[in-house]
């Protein structure tokens, strides 16, 4: 199966943008990454097995492209993260602090945390997307949670 890119844009544009942003921490770069990902989808002949397969592929491509953005020699004149956060409208102070705490996590923990808490992927699914072992994902998840708890104290619960 290969749904039209218009359908996928409508369905995944926002989630892919949030995923890209959570990796590269830059709005302009995140938009470039999402656009490049849809161009990649649109221009290749790859067939997919299922809707889940497409979603996982899009997310993997977005993550890799966003990591690549971080690796490029010259980056855009980025708006500092703190300034960007000021432009966002959070529902509460707690949400703003959680967002900032996640953004301050090391990249490898941030990605796993985001896939688990935002995209609702299981440890097994995250391992497949990132091509890691399940135990590696568990470790990153656990360390990410610990860092969030240290920062957010009681605002970050013990539930998983």
């Amino acid at each position: 199966m290969k749904p039209s890119v218009e359908i996928l844009i409508e369905k995944y544009r926002n989630n892919l943008y949030v995923m890209a942003f959570s990796v590269c921490k830059n709005a302009q770069d995140a938009e470039d990454v999402v656009q490049d990902t849809f161009i990649q989808y649109w221009s290749q002949k790859k067939e997919f097995e299922s809707e889940q397969h497409i979603r996982a592929w899009l997310i993997r491509v977005v993550i890799n492209k966003a990591k690549n953005k971080n690796n490029t020699f010259f980056r855009r004149n980025a708006l500092p993260l703190e300034d960007y956060i000021q432009t966002l409208t959070f529902e509460s102070e707690e949400s703003s602090e959680l967002f900032e705490a996640v953004m301050n996590l090391p990249e490898k923990y941030r990605i796993v945390i985001h896939l688990f808490y935002y995209e609702d992927y299981s440890v097994n699914e995250i391992a497949k997307i990132l091509k890691l072992t399940q135990s590696n994902v568990k470790v990153r998840l656990s360390r990410g949670r610990l860092l969030l708890r240290n920062t957010l104290k009681e605002d970050w619960g013990y539930d998983e």
């Binding site: 890119v5 218009e6 844009i9 544009r13 926002n14 943008y17 949030v18 942003f21 959570s22 709005a27 995140a30 938009e31 999402v34 656009q35 490049d36 849809f38 161009i39 990649q40 649109w42 221009s43 290749q44 790859k46 592929w57 993997r60 491509v61 993550i63 890799n64 492209k65 990591k67 690549n68 690796n71 490029t72 020699f73 010259f74 966002l88 409208t89 959070f90 529902e91 509460s92 707690e94 949400s95 703003s96 959680l98 967002f99 996640v102 945390i113 985001h114 808490y117 935002y118 609702d120 605002d155 970050w156 619960g157 539930d159 998983e160």
Partner: protein
């Protein structure tokens, strides 16, 4: 409220900008530019490879045909190479996915008086057995040399990655600039500042 609910609530504030356009027609135009850019990048890689051997890229034209085994992206592949005798070559093979592939290139060496000496068959074969770098569709980056391959997607520091291969106790040092070409040699890493990226 669970952690998941708190997390989703916090990230619900993040949206692409209003100017962010994902219109398909616009994407098609961008794709055309992207293809051109990729072609330019692959030509640049040839130039870099050739430059490291003190040669320069030349147009491939239409010699001696040989069937050889080459390692292409980690797979031992039967390749038909046509040496044109003017320093250029063309080759065709079937890749691991069963697709027919056609590639070509070549170069000339500059003599001290500035005249051009076409690359010999041996020099071209040496070039074809050098390491290769691939930027995959999923965004990952791989370096290949003979049957060895390394995923270097996460290994770039300031846009540069260094990879050392060893085959039959002989080392091969590869310097890769992210989307800026690469250079390889058996003695030491080539300084990434020694060539200009596109």
């Amino acid at each position: 409220m669970t952690n998941k609910e708190k997390y989703k609530k916090a990230f619900s504030a993040v949206h692409p900008s209003d100017e962010f356009s994902l219109e398909v027609e616009k994407m098609k135009r961008i794709r055309k530019r992207y293809v051109c850019k990729k072609m330019a990048a692959s030509i640049l890689c040839c130039v870099l490879f050739m430059t490291s051997a003190k040669v320069a890229y030349a147009m491939d034209v239409g010699g001696i045909q040989r069937t050889v085994q080459l390692w292409i992206q980690g797979d031992c592949t039967n390749v038909t190479v046509q040496f044109e005798g003017d320093g250029t070559y063309s080759m065709e093979y079937t890749d691991a996915d069963g697709n027919e592939q056609f590639r070509g290139g070549g170069g000339v060496e500059f003599a001290s008086d500035g005249s051009e000496i076409p690359l010999s068959e041996e020099e071209i074969m040496e070039y074809l057995t050098m390491p290769d770098v691939e930027y995959k569709d999923d965004g990952s980056v791989w370096v290949y040399w003979y049957d060895q391959k390394v995923d270097i997607t996460d290994k770039f520091v300031d846009g540069v990655c260094y990879v050392k291969f060893v085959k039959d106790k002989e080392p091969m040092y590869v310097t890769v600039k992210y989307h800026g070409g690469f250079a390889a040699g058996p003695h030491k890493y080539v300084d990434p500042d020694s060539w200009v990226s596109n």
